[in-house]
């Protein structure tokens, strides 16, 4: 960077590559309204699997799984200012951990979720150390390298007895426990919903805690954060670990939901997709992750329906229009509309 140091300190504070507007705390709606909104959303979420076709239920489950991965990415990028284009790697590690535990060791699938999360936490934490030395696009590239390296590593001959090489691993689909009158798809939907809510509440609490404020202080101005006594290395590496934990749990769930893991499901395309979901959903917004998950799952399909040959172009144009229309993501747009409505009432 030959660029001159930005002359005003106010501008420097914005230097981290994150849109700060979108990180304003969502105290826009009155509490009562928010409770109503949450109650309605939950009721709808609980009712959906009983009214929709089973394939759509499966798709919604996958959207929630992606939302969890995006939530993890959001903790890292949105709240801590570390750019990652490599979260498909953690997703893959989570998925393979689950698949290997279930198929090679016969462990029940619900144990694999925390296990995958913890293993990914360790990986993410360790990757956080070289990441400490990198900033902005350099970090983006290093993580991108991770995403590129993952599929060939999974295919590599020495690991084949575990990973099944190019073939991947088939995972048995679990049935609903306790003789619940649910189909397998419905059960997995509720499982994902439960895990997703748990992760979202945990993330919200984390962000509103002392540690969360430290994370955001590092994002906004590392020098000031250090001057206030925040241990930057500690928080950055831990955040990387927690982010990988979220993505790993999502990966493990995806292995159970899709019943199959293979190296080519976890290419950089997934990493880029998660990143797009993050930006479209809203950087630094926890509810935005759900928009992001829905986008990642449904928009490519929608583009394909419009034109088979030009699906990529349609996808790209939708993406461009979204960025023009709502530069701070879907969550930012909702917040903006809420602001406008609140201002009108006054």
């Amino acid at each position: 960077m030959q660029k001159e140091a930005t002359p005003t300190p106010e501008l420097q504070a914005v230097a981290p590559a994150v849109d700060l507007d979108s990180v304003a705390h969502d105290a826009v709606l009155p509490i009562a309204w928010r409770r109503v909104a949450i109650a309605v959303a939950l009721t709808v979420a609980l009712a959906l699997p009983f009214v929709l076709k089973s394939f759509l239920v499966f798709q919604l489950t996958m959207a929630m799984v992606y939302a969890m991965a995006i939530l993890g990415l959001n903790l890292l990028t949105g709240f801590n200012g570390q750019l990652s284009l490599g979260h498909s790697a953690f997703f893959a590690v989570g998925a393979y951990t689950a698949a290997i535990m279930i198929e090679n060791f016969g462990i029940d699938y619900y144990w694999t979720l925390p296990a995958a999360g913890l293993i990914c936490f360790a990986f993410g934490f360790l990757f956080g150390f070289p990441a400490l030395r990198l900033e902005g696009v350099y970090l983006a590239l290093a993580t991108f390298a991770l995403a590129i390296a993952m599929p060939p590593l999974l295919k590599a001959t020495p690991l084949e007895p575990w990973t099944g090489g190019v073939q991947g691993i088939l995972v048995t689909k679990p049935d609903a426990p306790f003789d619940l009158p649910l189909t397998s798809d419905q059960w997995l939907y509720f499982l994902s919903l439960g895990v997703g809510l748990l992760l979202a509440v945990a993330a919200a609490n984390l962000v509103n805690s002392r540690s969360g404020r430290a994370m955001m202080a590092i994002r906004d101005n590392p020098i000031a954060a250090r001057a206030m006594g925040i241990d930057i290395s500690f928080y950055k590496t831990i955040t990387f670990g927690v982010s990988a934990f979220y993505t790993g749990v999502a990966g493990a769930l995806s292995a159970v939901v899709v019943n199959f893991v293979a190296p080519d499901s976890f290419t950089f395309v997934l990493a880029v997709g998660l990143f797009v979901g993050l930006v479209v959903g809203g950087v630094g917004s926890i509810t935005g992750a759900l928009f992001g998950g829905l986008f990642v799952l449904f928009v490519p399909n929608f583009a394909e329906q419009i034109s088979k040959g030009l699906a990529g172009a349609v996808y790209g144009i939708i993406l461009l229009l979204l960025i023009y229309a709502m530069p701070s993501g879907a969550a930012g747009l909702v917040r903006l509309i809420a602001h406008k409505l609140a201002a009108r009432r006054r």
């Binding site: 960077m1 030959q2 350099y138 983006a140 060939p152 797009v276 040959g309 790209g316 993406l319 960025i323």
Partner: protein
Amino acid sequence: MELFLHQVIAGLATGAIYACMALAIVMIYQAIDTLNFAQGEMAMFSTFVGWQMMQWGLPYWGAFLATIAVSFVAGVAIERVVFNPLRDAPVLSHLVVFIALFAILNSAAGFIWDFTIKPFPTPFGTHPLFGNGLISAHDAGMIAVSLIMLALLYVFFRYTRIGLAMRAAASNPDSARLVGIRVGWMIALGWGMAASLGAVAGMLIAPVVFLEPNMMLSILLYGFAGAVLGGLSNPAGAVLGGFVVGVIENLAGTFIPYVGRELKLPIALALIVAVLSISPRGLFGTRLVTRV
């Protein structure tokens, strides 16, 4: 030993292409502080345009020059139409726009020219340049054309007024604007030149990797690696980085037993990550000093 020499020279030849891509990436990075993820697809599209011109009967060098001109105009147009309105958007949004451009160009090329692999002619021929077969004529041509391009760019930036204005616009937009440089157009010009550079790289590498919509993907990655290795703030470093990555890639593929071939790309990338964690701004990048 001969195998080693052979691999080094082949590495230099592909390295020349990576160097062109790395330079194109650095030019855009200097202007807007983001890696252009669509650079490879822009180059691929240009290469298809060149191929189409040859199909229409233009001679190689005529098509070559025409493609460079078309790419230049297209590069300027992309900056003016797509990026100019988003000048003040956050970097993350820029990245997403690049991803969108990537998807659009890739899919449009596939739609217009379909996904079948096409041969691309070389003006140099494929026979060995000397009797001993150490370097093929096309490899030598690739290196020569790239070096000529790079030398021209150097002269342009070093000795012309407009080159100076572009450098000023990149290094300090505010001051440049105050002395009467039209910063917006300088950035657009940079985009045009980056697009032309990509077109040259695409047309030179196309005889080797064959022409198809996904041909530039790994080349772009090596270009990134080269640019980052040399330092994104230093064009000359980026060029050198490109050559280094080309050689490393070839040697790793040949000499690391067992995993070398399969893991050629990850090995090259792992090396870059290793270099970065020792020297975070690349080998020749300038350290960023900020005033607090």
